[in-house]
Symmetry: C2
């Protein structure tokens, strides 16, 4: 019962909130490879994305500007929960008996309970400006679908969500949350699309994957000019919208008197949460202002960075999107139905993949039982039950804090707590009651997945 | 898409957090009637409460001091989520097209997702100081059980929770949340206690009630000096711990430039959330510094203030507690299994009952479908899905905002959003899909409940 006064959270006023997103592309030593048209194999132009996205977002996708102003209407929505708090994990530090200073940037304060509204809100806004009536999307853990349903409610758009079957079955409350915001949810694969029907034909209880759900949402959106598609991660503009997380964290660490963090660590599925925190710190690192290690953490069962191939591949399972050069397990790879549904994606953001290839960051993978153990320790010390996705980052943080205990180094760790686990408690139940096992990674399945990567001559 | 800059939240630094709880008792024009020993019918002394509570809390229960310092160890825990934010509901105002200014003090940012940790943390702290090893308690909606499990985890106490059967069945995630924090949960009535077995003998699927769950938790705690009982509402010390809500709100409304609110409105079950917000404002009203209307909102199916009798009655259903003078529907009254489980209590806090009798506040009741309609409108504008309990306060806020629209008055409303509804989505599902009906209030059941109030000569 330490009664000394110690500050737990580092807040910013609404007036201190950053008003621009950061685009890392022009700061990189080499430009990322372009997306390719799947038919011609030539670099894809804005018109190739036009059936899916409004032009404002396409221009952001290919922007060479370092900063993009956040529209006032988006800032106005952000202000409800942003700036989000930065916490010092004093009690976790005590429990680990570590000299490390552990900070977590908490995005669970948003309406959807995760970082996803940071991009859902601008995506809904730009689509509304473009006259769109309905947005379709996929959702894994349900965080993204919830965020988009919330954003659509604010901008008076319809919202139709294909939720990955495994998550749909595990997390009924996520569907209810999307419905509470006025969205419509389908279990994916569904009978509503040709892509969905083809997977159901293989297996009527198909657990689905993000790649399949994307195929379904894209299939519905592309032919109808009043319907557009919204992606919750992977693409450059989505990652850029998330950089407000890292921009705030830079200001907040400064308030905490920590100007030179040693480790920035975040979980990666499609990569948006990780990029959102890490890119502004990478900018500072590239500029020589600090020298943190930047580490991505992925699930052992879906290790696109650590076990995938860097190659051109489709973003969806049915092969409907432009080809993107990325770390991929193969667009037809269906990972185990692990509890971190938001990390079950066959590929990694092309931009993060490129940065990884440039050697500017590192990646590790962690098995899920280690993640849930860390998540429970976090809950019982810090009081927040984390979503299964960020437990990967917490597990990596604990690893590093225990290393610091051995070396005695007072290192500064910053991690992204990208969402709470209020809708994931069935997963904690499985862990607490011994129903969670770490399957050995299926090498045959990986080989099969990698075999589906298309050949792209000369790339 | 209003792009003008408008402030959404009014924050306080940790350094601005109040460091004392407010005890309204010495400021009242008449002292509240004492609790009575159920055997002698004489005023109960501290020793009568000693089998249930540690002496520090008993002394707070009967304190005549206006302010009680918050211990440093409790402040240190509070600082993780306190000061909690005060929000201006700009988008709800727009949707209602009202000139009213609507503010809500949001307690859902706490680890348990409600106001309950404000008292769970000091209760765990004082019990730990007194050498207690385990706390038992009841929980209705599950908010209180979650809060106590969290607080016990921090202070290394065991925690055993009897959850009202109807809530246990409706809200499996609440049990899982309590277990994630390390607590143990039983469906009440349970086979573990004599009280529980007697109710199960009447009905093996008994929906339970807060009164029954209290009987069970008390029965286990009283005979064992290493086990004590913790109550989540009703008692003076519990209400006092919650006054930090109103103290903060006073400072925050001042920052918002609103020094004279017209209406303070909160939902009431046992009364702690309502008192926490309202008592500091009532102090200012009694001192002549402002003149807000102070309004309690209760469910139409459990209307202790508006339909109950002001009389001495037991706090639990089995008649094991001291007698308290309060508005009561009869200690054996079992309300309909409505979705706002936290408001299903047969009595009202004696202190609030006394203040109501003094004419210092008013009360209304609202049927649950009106509450859920207001809750959904709130979710789709403000982005927060409220717990069913505070939807009662939101419904009353909407009523008043629409009245202001008719009169054109720019009134200032402050309401208590005491928790989020992440574990209550099955209730929203029932509402959205037409499975929620407002039963006519059962007058026969009320008459039967009132008939169980004991006769206390001369009181």
């Amino acid at each position: 019962m330490d009664e000394s006064v110690r500050q737990h959270k580092f807040l910013l006023d609404e007036s201190e909130m950053p008003t621009a997103w950061y685009n890392i592309v022009p700061d990189l030593p080499e430009p990322p490879p372009p997306a390719l048209h799947p038919g011609t194999l030539e670099p894809a132009g804005p018109e190739d994305f036009a059936p899916l996205f409004p032009m404002d977002l396409i221009l952001q996708e290919v922007s060479q500007e370092r900063y993009v102003d956040i529209p006032g209407a988006v800032l106005d929505v952000y202000r409800q929960w942003r700036p989000s708090p930065l916490f010092r994990a004093h009690r976790l530090e005590q429990a680990l008996d570590t000299p490390a200073h552990i900070y977590y940037k908490y995005e669970g304060v948003s309406p959807a309970g995760s970082h996803k509204p940071n991009t859902a809100v601008p995506q809904a806004y730009y689509n509304k400006l473009a006259g769109v009536k309905k947005l379709t999307t996929e959702t894994g853990a349900g965080q993204w679908g919830t965020a988009l349903a919330f954003a659509c409610a604010l901008f008076d758009l319809e919202c139709e969500v294909w939720q990955v079957g495994a998550s749909y079955d595990q997390k009924p409350y996520r569907r209810l949350m999307i419905e509470a915001f006025g969205g419509v949810v389908h279990r994916s694969p569904s009978e509503l699309t040709a892509a969905g029907r083809s997977y159901l034909a293989q297996d009527p209880n198909h657990p689905g994957s993000l790649g399949i759900a994307i195929s379904e949402a894209v299939e519905v959106a592309a032919p109808d000019p009043e319907i557009r598609y919204a992606l919750g991660s992977v693409l450059n503009h989505v990652l850029m919208h998330q950089t407000i997380i890292g921009e705030e964290a830079l200001l907040q660490l400064d308030k905490a008197g920590e100007r030179s963090p040693d480790l920035i660590v975040g979980c990666t599925g499609g990569g948006s949460n990780f990029a959102g925190l890490a890119f502004p710190f990478l900018r500072e690192k590239l500029a020589g202002n600090m020298s943190p290690t930047i580490r991505a953490v992925e699930p052992a069962s879906c290790p696109s960075l650590t076990r995938g191939t860097y190659a051109y591949d489709f973003g969806d399972s049915a092969g409907m999107t432009p080809l993107m050069k990325m770390h991929t397990l193969g667009h037809d790879f269906v990972p185990d139905p692990i509890h971190a549904g938001g990390l079950r994606y066959h590929g990694m953001s092309p931009l993060i993949s490129h940065i990884y290839e440039l050697g500017l960051m590192e990646a590790i993978s962690v098995p899920q039982s280690e993640c849930f153990a860390a998540g429970l320790q976090f809950a019982r010390t810090e009081g927040i039950v984390p979503a299964p996705e960020p437990t990967h980052a917490i597990a990596a943080t604990v690893q590093e804090a225990l290393r610091a205990k051995e070396t005695g180094e007072e290192i500064v760790i910053l991690t992204a707590l990208c969402g709470h686990g209020h809708f994931d408690l069935a997963s904690y139940d499985a862990y607490l009651n011994g129903r969670m096992v770490d399957e050995a990674f299926d090498e045959d399945r990986l080989a099969e997945g990698l075999s589906t990567i298309p050949a792209v001559p000369g790339r």
